[in-house]
């Protein structure tokens, strides 16, 4: 029975995860079907768009991961500390709503918010000296904009998960801490956060996997801004351009492999630092 239940996932994983990966590995080391070693990689490294794209994604990841971990943990602790039951439930619900909007549609919503000529919060943008959409989406602002969009859509789900994890910490431990004289901050710092470690690193891995694949947000912004946000902002966009604009599927596969190696490396860091696979 167990096999039957997991076969659905297994087959989909094979068809849309493992097989495409193997196909990409094959493509990345070949050209027109014959083995070419690292040629595709050196071509990609030599592309003038490659390192700017790496920088863009790296900067975004740093800003996003730091904000995500900091604010999700903080908000979860606060919501958990709220004694009033209805307030806590409604706040969690509120956090979760934006997550229901799927990728591109949430970006469309942000297009309105970010354009000072139509935005309901135009005064905030103008207050920051941003008088036109072009100024708002200037390349230096993008990591922050993408972080806000990603946080807004994704953080709610994580807050709910962290809240659940906090509920799992046994009441005896919490009570013992209180008796020892720990206030809310002390409890959070010495008891709750260390016990959330695995959850935080799990969140880090998932956010990293999603973040390195940054594509929908810059793509939609690029089309909406008629190219002011360049079509080659992120690595995934560059891979897309390679495949469909230059019809070079081998170069595209090489970029995907580089992304995979980097993402797996960073995920390994979180797994071992976060003790994700340890059993107590």
């Amino acid at each position: 029975m167990g096999y039957a239940f997991s076969s659905g996932y297994g087959i989909l994983l094979l068809a849309f995860g493992v097989l495409p990966t193997l196909y990409a590995i094959f493509l990345a080391f070949t050209k027109n079907g014959s083995f070419v070693g690292l040629d595709n990689f050196s071509k990609v490294f030599g592309d003038y768009r490659f390192f700017p794209a790496v920088q863009h994604v790296a900067l975004y990841l740093v800003v996003y991961l730091v904000c995500l971990i900091l604010f999700v943990v903080l908000l979860a602790l606060i919501v958990h500390a709220v004694r009033s039951r209805w307030l806590s439930t409604s706040v969690r619900f509120l956090y979760y709503i934006p997550g229901a909007l799927a990728g591109a549609s949430s970006v469309l919503l942000w297009l309105f918010l970010l354009d000072p000529t139509v935005s309901p919060v135009a005064f905030v943008l103008r207050g920051m000296g941003l008088d036109s959409f072009v100024q708002t989406v200037s390349i230096d602002n993008l990591p922050v904009i993408f972080t806000i969009i990603a946080f807004w859509t994704g953080a709610g789900g994580w807050i709910v998960i962290m809240y659940g994890a906090l509920n799992n910490i046994s009441e005896e431990v919490m009570e013992a801490a209180r008796i020892d004289g720990a206030g809310p901050i002390g409890t959070a710092w010495y008891i709750q956060i260390p016990m959330l470690r695995k959850w935080i690193s799990y969140m880090g891995i998932m956010a990293l996997a999603a973040g390195t694949q940054l594509f929908v947000e810059p793509r939609v912004l690029s089309q909406a801004s008629k190219g002011v946000v360049p079509p080659d902002y992120s690595l995934n966009q560059l891979a897309y351009l390679y495949a469909f604009s230059q019809k070079d599927f081998n170069g595209s596969a090489a970029i995907s492999l580089i992304l995979l190696v980097v993402a797996v490396g960073l995920a390994a860091f979180f797994v071992f630092r976060g003790g994700l696979f340890e059993r107590e």
């Binding site: 003038y48 768009r49 036109s132 100024q135 200037s138 008629k226 002011v228």
Partner: protein, 450 residues
């Protein structure tokens, strides 16, 4: 119970295996039943009455629907896509996918870009070029000779025509007669007069404007092309861009001068903010299609009738009277089509029928159609002055020094110049980065950059 599970698991495994084999064979399949039918390319076996699929943008949907109504015996599916607008490359990317899968191509595609022949006329990764040659048997010469001279030149490679121009978009000088009368100005005829007028206007009537540099197509096609600036030239596999040329330098200086005196604005002509210039726009160099898309558009400037006129394009004093061109759509036929006869009927209808003249939103490229369209436009009483004369003059004087490589000049302008201007830099400051970006793009696309 246990054996049932096993059977289920086996069924799943078999399904997965079949799907995998199917996927793999789809990737390698393709060249079946091809024959050279005397059309200048390997057409697939023709099946009479097989349905055709037509891809159009929203603006071309009415003509496709009209064809369907007029030809109930030809089975046709109309699909709307973004029309490849703004260099979105959707036409190219979708065809690359069909090339990869070996099936699924539409029979007719409309593209708003003029440079698609650079890739659509080329074989790619061993798959036959998407665009079918049209002057080797698909369409007869008597029909093809009805186009405005040079209209199909961007889609012609070594004498073979790969696409039919839907509309021409020569740049004219649009002006507001009411404002000119009110301020006592005359219509400028040269770039020098245009620049001089900007100083007068800025001094006497601040807040009124003479154009916009906020779109990828205005900076490049309207200003630099119209100024004969050789910043985007192709010769075979060689690409060159020259900002140091005198024409380029003069246009850069003109733009910076007029951006500084605020008669050129940075708003996109399609942006929400541009509508606020409805009664502030004194003149603007722009393509023929501004008539419908900007002036007579309720979401655009929406200027009342009897104020707007078109004048002959601006040129440099003492030099050739030439102008730029902003796109103009193109119809392509698929070389993979199973019903080229229906495709030919559709193409003829789309560019040369009475309905085409009636539904056109810009200057049609087919002479008979454009005559009918210009007559209607002039007769409508919306425009002042000699509208048809100005548009005809412009249509026959597009500068032929601008190239059509496989990438758009709009992307570099949009990603470098527009945000740079918004950050307070001048065009001259941005030229080095802009030039480098154009050269890099050319190199990535496989051109030898000079």
């Amino acid at each position: 119970m246990a054996s049932q599970h096993r059977r289920f698991a086996r069924l799943l495994a078999v399904t997965a295996a079949v799907a995998t084999v199917g996927l793999l064979s789809a990737c390698s399949g393709g060249d079946t039943g091809a024959s050279d039918s005397g059309l200048g390319f390997q057409s697939v076996e023709q099946v009479a009455d097989s349905p055709i699929t037509v891809w159009v943008d929203a603006a071309r949907e009415p003509i496709a629907t009209a064809f369907k109504a007029a030809n109930p015996d030809i089975p046709i599916t109309i699909e709307t896509y973004d029309g490849n607008a703004g260099g979105s490359d959707s036409f190219k990317t979708k065809m690359a996918l069909f090339d990869q899968s070996g099936e699924g191509w539409p029979d007719v595609v409309f593209s708003t870009q003029t440079n698609d022949a650079s890739w659509a006329a080329q074989e790619s990764n061993g798959v036959q070029a998407f665009a079918a040659p049209l002057n080797k048997g698909v369409l007869d010469d008597s029909f093809l000779s009805g186009f405005t001279a040079g209209a199909n030149a961007p889609m012609t490679v070594d004498g073979t025509v790969y696409g039919l121009r839907n509309d021409l978009a020569p740049v004219v000088l649009w002006y507001n007669q009411k404002l000119l009368d009110q301020f006592g100005y005359t219509v400028p005829t040269t770039w020098e007069e245009y620049e001089a007028l900007s100083d007068k206007l800025a001094a006497d009537h601040p807040g009124y404007i003479l154009g916009s540099v906020g779109d990828g197509f205005t900076g490049t096609y309207v200003y630099y092309w119209g100024a004969q600036a050789p910043i985007f030239q192709v010769d075979g596999d060689a690409f060159s861009t020259n900002f140091a040329d005198d024409h380029s330098k003069r246009m850069t200086a003109l733009l910076d001068h007029m951006i500084a005196n605020k008669t050129l604005v940075q708003d996109s002509v399609f942006g929400a903010n541009f509508a606020s210039y409805s009664d502030k726009l004194v003149a603007i160099p722009g393509p023929a299609w501004y008539s419908g898309a900007v002036f007579q558009n309720t979401a655009g400037l929406n200027v009342p009738a009897g104020e707007i006129g078109a004048a002959a394009p601006l040129y440099w004093n003492g030099e050739d009277k030439v102008t730029g061109n902003v796109g103009g759509g193109v119809w392509y036929a698929s070389s993979h089509s199973k019903n080229l006869k229906a495709v030919a009927d559709f193409l003829k209808y789309a560019v040369s029928s009475d309905k085409a003249a009636e539904l056109a939103s810009g200057l049609p490229a087919y002479t008979a159609t454009s005559d009918a369209w210009l007559k209607t436009q002039s007769g409508s009483g919306y425009f002042v002055g000699d509208f048809a004369g100005a548009v005809n003059t412009a249509a026959s004087s597009v500068w032929d020094g601008w190239g059509f490589p496989s990438f758009s000049p709009e992307t570099a302008y949009s990603s470098i110049v527009i945000p740079g201007l918004a950050a307070g830099k001048s065009v001259a400051d941005l030229v080095p980065a802009w030039e480098a970006e154009i050269k890099n793009e050319a190199q990535v696309q496989g051109y030898t950059v000079k």
